[in-house]
């Protein structure tokens, strides 16, 4: 016995050692599989495929060269779908619309959601309004509002104060508006509504104010410079865009905010002066109006009103259907008019007695002694009714 035990111990130790070695080997092999490529465009890690692995995933190493499906797109198809427009105006369609035309259309189709004159207040995005004044660095002053220390208005993100380019306004209205009937406006109408919204934001084009008679077209829309055009970073334009984006994400501590792995006696100052020690902040006013309402019980859902399944049918399903669904078991099948016609020749009273006391191969009450006589009557009525 002693020898056997020793043998078991040896096997156990070998197994333990080999699994430890295997784990160690797996760990040391990990870097070659999880090879990182720093400096990806988001500053993050990408995982190249190599040696049959894509991180933890296996993949088929066979070449996919020559795999090609689909058919060439026709020139007309591309023309039909390629209707986007760039900030420089490339892609904008011909057409024109006046502020006055836009006013009529806006009142009829847009004001219900976006408010009179684009002023919001209906729960949907506010399109016009807000102070566009800039500070000495060219930053829209009201966008610096922070609702955290003292009373401050929210920064307004309207076309006039926040949007960087006006071409987006045209394409978005054309493709996605009016909300319930997208793509129902003509290009002229879209130019008109675009003109109206720009006018409400007191935009000038080439130094010209947009009065009711002002007619907007492609050439004029291209010239619009919005107040917050330079209010966004990192740079995404020009030949250096990708490098600028990469540099931005490479320094997330400075640009986005990053943590530190302090483990003991950590300090976390902040606040307006950057020196106030962090304290506990509880919910002031809890948002509770959620749909459907919060509920956590593990119970049966409430019966739907006017449910299609009657009480009799449920009892039938539970206690009778097993034998009466077909005639395979010798019982008259529900739905078989002829079979039930001959059953009913005995008279309802006799049928009920048979159901309650059993008959032939059928046990009393179909075997469910929890059913009372009234239940049985309901069930039989249901079965007879469903078999006419």
């Amino acid at each position: 016995m002693f020898k056997l035990d020793r043998k078991l111990v040896t096997i156990g130790m070998t197994l333990a050692l080999s699994s430890t070695l295997a784990m160690a080997a797996a760990r040391s092999a990990a870097p070659s599989i999880y090879k990182s490529k720093p400096g990806a465009i988001d500053g993050g890690v990408t995982y190249p495929r190599e040696k049959g692995n894509y991180t933890a995933y296996k993949y088929n190493e066979q070449s996919t060269e020559g795999v090609s499906f689909g058919r060439p797109a026709t020139a007309n198809e591309i023309k039909a779908w390629d209707v986007d427009a760039l900030p420089d105006g490339t892609g904008l369609p011909e057409g024109e619309g006046s502020v006055e035309l836009g006013d009529e259309l806006y009142e009829a189709q847009c004001a219900v959601c976006h408010g009179e004159f684009g002023g919001g207040g209906k729960g949907y995005p506010q399109l016009a309004g807000g102070n566009q004044d800039k500070d000495e660095n060219g930053i829209v002053i009201t966008l610096k509002n922070q609702r955290v220390y003292g009373n401050t208005d929210a920064p307004k993100r309207t076309v006039g104060t926040y949007w960087p380019v006006a071409t987006t306004l045209f394409t978005y209205i054309r493709d996605a508006m009016p909300y319930a009937h997208p793509k129902s406006l003509t290009n002229d109408e879209v130019y008109g509504i675009t003109a109206y919204i720009l006018a409400q934001n007191e935009i000038e084009i080439d130094g010209e104010e947009m009065d009711d008679e002002y007619v907007l077209n492609k050439e004029k829309l291209m010239k619009v410079v919005l107040a917050n055009a330079k209010g966004f970073y990192p740079n995404i334009d020009g030949p250096n865009a990708q490098e600028d984006i990469r540099a931005f994400f490479a320094d997330r501590a400075k640009n986005i905010g990053a943590g530190t792995r302090c483990m003991k006696d950590c300090k976390d100052p902040g606040g307006k002066d950057g020196k106030t020690e962090a304290t506990l902040m509880k919910i002031g006013y809890e948002m509770k109006d959620v749909v459907p309402p919060y509920a956590y019980a593990r119970d049966l859902p409430p019966e739907k009103e006017g449910g299609s399944v009657s009480k009799a049918e449920k009892m039938y399903d539970a206690s009778c259907k097993l034998c009466h669904a077909t005639d395979k078991m010798g019982a008259p099948a529900v739905g078989d008019a002829n079979a039930w016609k001959s059953v009913m020749e005995k008279g309802m009273d006799k049928v009920l007695v048979n159901a309650i006391k059993g008959t032939g191969g059928m046990p009393p009450k179909g075997g469910n002694m929890d059913l009372n006589d009234a239940d049985i009557k309901e069930i039989v009525d249901y079965m007879v009714g469903a078999s006419k």
Binding site: Y34, S36, P38, I41, D42, G43, G44, V45, T46, Y47, Y57, E65, V67, F69, G70, R71, P72, A73, W81, D82, D84, P87, P125, I139, Q146, V148, P155, P164, V165, Y172, A176, Y179, G231, I236, A241, Q242, R252, I256, G257, A258, G259, R261, M263, C266, D268, G270, G274, E277, A278, L280, M281, G284, Y285, M287, V291, P292, Y296, R298, L300, A318
Partner: protein, 444 residues
């Protein structure tokens, strides 16, 4: 009443009554659901402890004494009827004027098991309602700065070799209500704008290899076919790295809410970029400035300027147990209990998670468990001895790009409180001495 119910909020234990019932006070569910019969009291009584017999054991149960449903009653299966409260929820705050066509619904993270979100519980964001694309009429056009512009039907697209990846999708607005302070009292609404699924489709590079991408192509416009024509501009580097066009979600076709039949999938990047109901991919040399990357999905900072084109979801984590929905009110002092949570990073793989019990002053290392995959939810776990003392529970994750999840103060110092999007600050659960859990913040 089932024993499980006692775990939930709103059903606090009446400890005083229970202490009278038994001096040991352990395992309340036996007591709560049991009736003390005279026989039980005399036959099982041991000094100082009375355990009542559980009716669920002493009597036959309904489902054991009746015939169950037919085997294939539901040809497409549904969850147990008893799970009917495990559902996505939304709020008027996440819509325009309560209109639920441009809105968002939240995944019930407190009921999330493992790392795969069931398709019926995947969070949903729509800008013009859920589109129902006819797969026979679906067309995908790929054009612009390519030698061979093409049109694909759904069947043709699915002919391409496929691969499957488990990936988290997180809305850029996740936790948007929390910038100025805690507002929602549940895990579902604090962090529910995210889900994780296995997505199946073709790598975009495999298709593009044959189309002759021109060297001046720097950007890709991805456009949806729904009423909002949701579109985004994607840098070419990401397109050629790991971007996919997917048609499979957890083993079946995409749900309509997730872009049926086809959506773009940009692993690790904010979900708004993974355009649903995909219709068109155009390659160009300039970015398009679509609405959802200018007036929306840009983060206004305290400087008055806004961050645009933020891409990857930052390193993040949340404790899912305990949480406000599943508190520790059923625990007794001395109980050993698991603290569990989810960590994820759009930059890569989670390297580890730390846990604090005192609101971030001191930290211990938690353990990762299960699959640890890049750009996917990763589970973390820590065994904790419950002492019935108030706690300020936090989790802090870090990834293989050396990113560490920031505190509220650390994030606020850089971006302020009006950013709306891209929030990844550490969350705090306050645990009361009774085990109740509430959403709080530690900040200046």
């Amino acid at each position: 009443m089932s024993c499980v119910d006692t775990k939930y909020k709103g059903e606090k234990l009446n400890r005083e009554t229970e202490e009278k019932l038994t001096s040991s006070g352990r395992r309340d569910f036996f007591k709560k659901t049991a009736s003390v019969s005279a026989v039980a009291a005399t036959s099982i009584m041991v000094p100082s402890t009375v355990l009542a017999d559980d009716e669920n054991i002493m009597h036959h149960v309904k489902w054991g004494t009746t015939l169950g449903d037919e085997c294939n009653k539901n040809p497409y299966g549904v969850p147990s009827l008893y799970e009917h409260n495990v559902v996505r929820r939304t709020s008027a705050l996440m819509s325009s004027a309560g209109d639920m066509h441009a809105a968002i619904s939240m995944t019930p993270l407190h009921e999330q098991k493992g790392i795969i979100t069931p398709n019926g519980l995947h969070f949903t964001r729509t800008h013009n309602g859920v589109a129902h694309v006819d797969p026979e009429k679906f067309r995908l056009m790929i054009h612009g700065l390519v030698e061979k512009p093409i049109v694909l039907t759904l069947e043709q697209l699915k002919r391409y070799p496929s691969e499957s990846r488990i990936l988290v999708l997180e809305c850029p607005s996740n936790s948007a209500a929390e910038w100025k302070g805690p507002q929602f009292g549940t895990l579902q609404f604090v962090k529910g704008m995210m889900s994780c699924a296995e997505w199946t489709g073709v790598r975009l590079k495999t298709i593009l290899d044959e189309l002759g991408l021109k060297p001046e192509a720097k950007w890709m416009l991805a456009e949806g076919s729904d009423g909002s024509e949701m579109s985004r501009t994607v840098p070419i580097e990401k397109v050629l790295d790991d971007a996919m066009i997917v048609w499979g979600q957890n083993g079946e076709a995409l749900r309509a809410e997730q872009g049926y039949p086809v959506r773009l999938m940009l692993p690790g990047w904010e979900a708004n970029l993974s355009v649903k109901w995909l219709k068109r991919l155009e390659f160009g040399d300039k970015p398009w400035y679509a609405k959802e990357e200018t007036s929306k999905y840009t983060a206004l900072t305290a400087s008055g300027k806004a961050i645009q084109h933020f891409y990857a979801n930052e390193v993040n984590s949340i404790i899912t147990s305990p949480c406000p929905e599943i508190p520790w009110t059923d625990l007794e002092k001395g109980d050993l209990v698991e603290i569990e949570g989810l960590a994820w990073s759009g930059h890569g793989t989670i390297d580890g998670v730390d846990i604090s019990f005192d609101g971030g002053k001191n930290w211990v290392e938690a353990n990762l468990k299960g699959l640890v995959l890049p750009k996917a939810w990763t589970r973390f776990s820590y065994m904790y001895k419950y002492e019935g003392k108030p706690l300020l529970l936090q989790s802090r994750s870090y990834d293989d790009s050396k990113n560490v999840q920031p505190t509220v103060n650390q994030e606020k110092a850089v971006v302020g409180v009006e950013g709306v999007y891209h929030r990844n600050a550490i969350c705090t659960w306050a645990v009361s001495d009774m085990g109740e859990v509430s959403n709080v913040q530690i900040r200046s």
